[in-house]
Symmetry: C2
Subunit: 327 residues, 2 copies
């Protein structure tokens, strides 16, 4: 079986090789931004998860490579268009595509990436290809829905925990789940087993996004890779803020709302004040417990998987790694 590192290496190599082919494609102005977007790197979790899932059921995973590329290209397409919508100027320490090239380029090359991901997916020769393509398409639509909810929530004060969890399920979890299920399907796993992989992915994805929310406030800047407190500064309606608003007494709520309404504030002052309120309200523990509950649900699903325990090990280890766990 492949180790996490071996799969990452394999995925990186495949992406490099594929990216190189883009240099020869015309029109250059359409394909160069695609290559640029992919050169930004990233953890490439989705293709690794896809191949890892396939590898649970089959030793030879070569035939899954185009699909692995497809989910990564698709993911990068969403980042590219999201960055335009969010007016983000930097991603992974490099100018975003619409900043480096132009907004029109980012729209059109993004579109091309969506179709390139289908082109790759459709290279797979597999009996269940139509079924996998349908799953991929439903997932793509759900990711759009998630992004729409995320944008809607910016201007809404009535976002409940349930609505928030549904948003991150759509925006983040379904693509991880799709990658895992597609991997299983490509390796000819039974339908019920493939479904287990999907459910595992949903729980893992929810835990992963909540962990990201948590680290945005409580993380270590160096290992997190982004500036701590960004969500607080931007009034992002995360699991932390929604629960803080829910749990605060009237005095704390007033204080919190004061910071949410304030303009022209000092960023660090706001981050400290809001974090302090989170601390008073036990938001860190609450979020950790929620993450645990999803992680445990994912682990239970993995236990049910009708394969030898040792075949589950790489995926178990990767899930722990994704959630920064040692045990």
């Amino acid at each position: 079986m492949y180790s996490i590192e071996a799969l990452q290496k394999k995925v990186n190599h495949e992406i490099d090789v594929w990216s190189e082919t883009l240099s020869k494609k015309e029109p250059h102005q359409l394909y160069a931004p695609v290559k640029y977007a992919l050169s930004m790197g990233g953890k490439r979790l989705r293709p690794v998860l896809l191949l890892m899932s396939a590898n649970i059921f089959r030793d030879d995973i070569e035939s899954g490579l185009p699909a692995a590329l497809a989910v990564e290209i698709f993911h990068n397409f969403t980042l590219l268009h999201d960055d335009i919508m969010d007016k983000a100027e930097v991603r992974r320490n490099k100018p975003t595509v619409h900043k480096h090239f132009s907004e029109n380029t980012a729209i059109l090359s993004g579109d091309a990436m969506a179709f390139l991901s289908y082109q790759l997916l459709l290279k797979c020769r597999c009996e269940k290809l139509s079924e996998i393509t349908r799953l991929f398409t439903e997932t793509a639509l759900e990711v759009c829905e998630g992004q729409q909810y995320d944008m809607d929530f910016e201007n809404r004060q009535d976002v409940t925990e349930a609505k928030y969890l549904e948003m991150i399920r759509l925006k983040t979890a379904v693509l991880l789940a799709c990658s895992l299920k597609a991997g299983a399907q490509l390796a000819d796993a039974e339908n019920e087993t493939a479904k287990l992989m999907y459910d595992f992915g949903i729980n893992l994805g929810l835990a992963f996004q909540l962990q990201d929310d948590l680290l945005d406030t409580y993380g270590n800047q160096e290992s997190f890779g982004k500036k701590i407190g960004g969500d607080i500064v931007a009034n992002k309606k995360t699991y932390l803020l929604i629960n803080a608003l829910e749990k605060a007494n009237s005095e704390q709520k007033q204080e919190l709302k004061k910071w949410l309404a304030k303009t022209g504030f000092d960023a660090n002052e706001k981050i400290n004040a809001v974090t302090n309120l989170y601390n008073q309200l036990g938001i860190k523990k609450l979020t950790e417990e929620k993450i645990d509950s999803y992680f445990n649900a994912a682990s239970e699903i993995l236990q049910k998987l009708p394969v030898d325990e040792k075949r589950k090990l790489p995926l178990k280890n990767l899930s722990k790694m994704m959630l920064g766990r040692n045990s």
Copy 2:
């Protein structure tokens, strides 16, 4: 067999029914713009061509309906994103999606439309579905390439006739060709026959786009539906302008380049002056001859089609109608 009118009615009905289902979908902000875009109408040539092609080979064309919807939704997705890129404010006398809603909405709802078109296409139950989905994907990429060339050409002075024809092949003809081929494939036509339908579509599409170029200068405003001379005002590198620059003597070229370089001109004055140059250079006749040559090539391909002549009649008539011909 279905008449043109019967197919148009069928397509309009299907789109209306499908659009209605969008009203119930959440998030509303994502799906309402899709419904709005479709409510703008249009000739809906692509779905009609798809069904008409299927009808050549089979009486029952119901199973082709989702694919017919798919090509129309896809076409509208391209219009939506193109309108952002072109900063177009009006389409079919209504505010464009990015004007009526917002640019972010137009990007994201456009993305959703691309995936909705796959969702519809994948509803077709047909042995060749993967093959059709591959054709659809290649076509989608080519349409992106065409749009990129179109944008590139705006800032280039070295656009040759060959490059221009390749651009309109990609931007316009391939989707007509894809619709025709997919219709044939859905109706279980032989591979070679389906290929003939594709080639027919390419020639028809090229003729159709050149006709559009011609009417932009020489059309009747009422029947053309757009203001005459728009391409001239915008210095659009059409078949007409490219050939005028090619054929002009040094004096005429100087005059033409003067108008191309001029800013702050009176639109009608420019339209009259450039049209006058086109008249001197016989550009109308030249373009008509080029249209004829593609139309004739299309007709010859249709002749080769191994089916009874009377089954070809609706498509023959529609091609003539598309090119404004009586005979």
